[in-house]
């Protein structure tokens, strides 16, 4: 093995660059993994991206990966260090959901995504911080500590996958997996200047993903470029009998979809995504990004999606309702936080949930319980599910005449720590552009799409149901025509 490539450089690699070095024998997985662990050691006290660093496990997996590479059995992810959001179960590795409730929880099984990545020879360097139970848009709701944005440590990284996004941006891992219920992959990817893909609902197994809102949750990659997102999707997509909502369809090779141009690609720009109150720098960047598509030969047209403004209310009824049911399992009996002193079973149950859950989780459980309770079910939950149908239909119809929809990922760049913590409604508005894709179950990706006041802006592209191949091709063409993805925070 050559030591010509210094450690700092090894930590900055993309997946496809790392795979190239590994294949040519110019670096070992142990060397790359050690470089990433050194980087974590150097910067994570500032970013707070990791809840748990799995250094020993990572080096053990790296040694196994080097043997596999030497035996000629390497896969595209073999030996490449990655981070999993800490709401994905990892056997023998603490999985906390950044909650006091699961602070000491050690899963007895692997999530399907973890098992699939391990089968590929991946190297787990740790578990990433999140808003507790993936509820939030800033990672300030972590019960342990907030994650900070590598571009400006006084600002939030977005959320809820703030740890996984900040870790990729800060070169503390080569790639990560996040989960996206209303924007939790795309919004932090946008605010940290990296790529985040939310696949079609059901394309990636949710088995072992600690449930938040089961009709909306989806796992996806956070990466340094679009090619890496396609490589990771190849590894994690596909039917899983352990997830009854998993789609039973053959999945294509997403990397082969990246080649080819976007001449004649029909790009829709919905007027409802350019709203009053959004930052001028964000609007400017996204308008410029749309012009790049025109220059590449795409056909751009303005479209109208009039039900877009209702997505926020629909989301904040459906997601808490499902959460209130999913989180009913936390009773302090089989696992999780349990109070020392309690007068009775009921008292123990109420104390478990009073002290085990943080404020935002309790707010959502309360909202969901209210929306599902007798007398309010029709007005809230049923109404929201009907408007959900209208939003889904409207997007389906739009895609009859379009290949992708281009829009901002978030109305603002990264905001300051603490700025929105006292006002839940203001915090909820961060997800206004990302929620429709979850509500409709369609894929969407955020790619670096410019800068505003020194901070990254995300360009969001949405595609039709199972339209990942075209979505990735469009995102890749845009990325290759710009340099935004090459910018790095000066951390």
């Amino acid at each position: 093995m050559s030591s010509a490539t210094p450690g700092a450089e090894l930590a900055r690699l993309t997946i496809h660059e790392a795979a190239g070095l590994l294949a040519e024998g110019r670096a070992s997985s142990v060397e790359i993994t050690q470089a990433v662990l050194d980087r974590i050691e150097a910067v994570d006290d500032r970013t707070g991206a990791f809840v748990t660093v799995t250094g020993d496990l990572a080096l053990e997996q790296a040694r196994a990966a080097d043997e596999r590479i030497a035996s000629g059995d390497a896969r595209p992810l073999t030996g490449v260090p990655m981070l999993l959001k800490d709401n994905m179960c990892t056997r023998g590795v603490r999985t906390t959901c950044s909650s006091r409730m699961l602070e000491d929880f050690v899963p007895a099984y692997d999530a399907t995504v973890a098992a699939r990545l391990y089968d590929e020879g991946a190297v787990l360097v740790g578990k990433g911080n999140l808003d507790e139970f993936a509820m939030g848009s800033s990672t300030e709701n972590s019960a342990f500590f907030p994650t900070r944005n590598p571009w400006d440590l006084d600002r939030v990284p977005g959320g809820s996958s703030g740890g996984p996004a900040a870790a990729v941006a800060a070169d503390e891992c080569v790639y990560s997996l996040g989960s996206d219920t209303g924007g939790s992959i795309r919004q932090p990817a946008a605010l940290c200047g990296v790529v985040g893909l939310k696949p079609t609902y059901g394309l990636v197994s949710r088995y072992g993903l600690i449930a938040f809102a089961s009709s909306l949750d989806q796992i996806g990659p956070i990466t340094k470029d679009v090619r890496d997102a396609a490589i990771v999707l190849n590894a994690i997509a596909g039917h899983d009998p352990r997830d009854s909502t998993s789609i039973a369809a053959e999945t294509p090779d997403y990397t082969s979809a990246l080649d080819g141009d976007v001449k004649g690609l029909r790009v829709g720009v919905p007027s409802e995504y350019f709203v009053e109150g959004m930052e001028p720098g964000v609007e400017r960047a996204v308008r410029d990004a749309v012009r790049v598509f025109e220059d590449l030969g795409a056909v751009v047209e303005e479209v109208s999606l009039p039900h877009t403004p209702y997505a926020l209310a629909v989301y904040y009824i459906i997601a808490p309702s499902e959460a209130s049911a999913n989180l009913a399992r936390y009773d302090g009996v089989k696992y999780g936080f349990s109070p020392q002193e309690a007068e009775s079973m009921w008292d123990a149950l109420e104390k478990t949930r009073q002290h085990g859950f943080g404020p935002e989780v309790k707010r959502r459980i309360m909202l969901g319980t209210y929306a599902l309770s007798a007398g309010y079910y029709d007005a809230y939950y049923l109404k929201a599910q009907q408007v959900r149908t209208l939003i889904r239909r409207e997007l389906d119809e739009a895609f009859q005449g379009l290949d992708v929809i281009a829009a901002p990922t978030s109305p603002s760049v990264a905001f300051r720590q603490g700025e929105k913590m006292d006002d839940p409604v203001q915090m909820y508005l961060n997800d206004v552009f990302t929620q429709p894709a979850n509500i409709a179950g369609i894929p969407a990706i955020s790619v670096p799409g410019g800068m505003s006041e020194g901070l990254p802006v995300g360009l969001q592209l949405m595609g039709p149901y199972l339209g990942e191949a075209t979505l990735l091709r469009a995102a890749h063409a845009y990325e290759q025509a710009t340099n935004w993805h090459k910018l790095r925070p000066g951390l």
């Binding site: 023998g92 009996v333 349990s338 009775s344 109420e350 309770s373 179950g441």
Partner: protein, 95 residues
């Protein structure tokens, strides 16, 4: 739509979340503000619109009932807050 202190206490009981009086007050104000955001949905005509129970083409999935290895007993039990041997200790349901 405003929500009352009594309603918050009732919902907290249904959800089995213990709350101090201060928490109840704060929750009442925050929930009221959030519920106000939901009023916009009354502007949408949903007459005759079917509800999205789940996403398109979803049906109950059937599988053969066959024995497969499950999680390791010790791995599962080691997470229990109160344990006696291979049993999980719970508080009395009936006094």
């Amino acid at each position: 739509m405003r929500i009352t202190t009594e309603e918050v206490r009732h919902i907290a009981t249904l959800a089995r979340v213990g709350m101090t009086d201060d928490e109840v007050e704060r929750m009442r104000d925050q929930m009221s503000n959030i519920l106000e955001q939901f009023d916009v949905l009354s502007q949408v005509d949903t007459g005759g619109v079917e509800s999205t129970g789940s996403l398109p083409g979803r049906q109950t999935v059937m599988r053969d009932d066959r024995v497969e290895p499950s999680a390791d007993r010790e791995d599962v039990l080691s997470n229990a807050p109160r344990r006696e041997g291979d049993l999980i200790r719970v508080r009395a349901v009936l006094e």
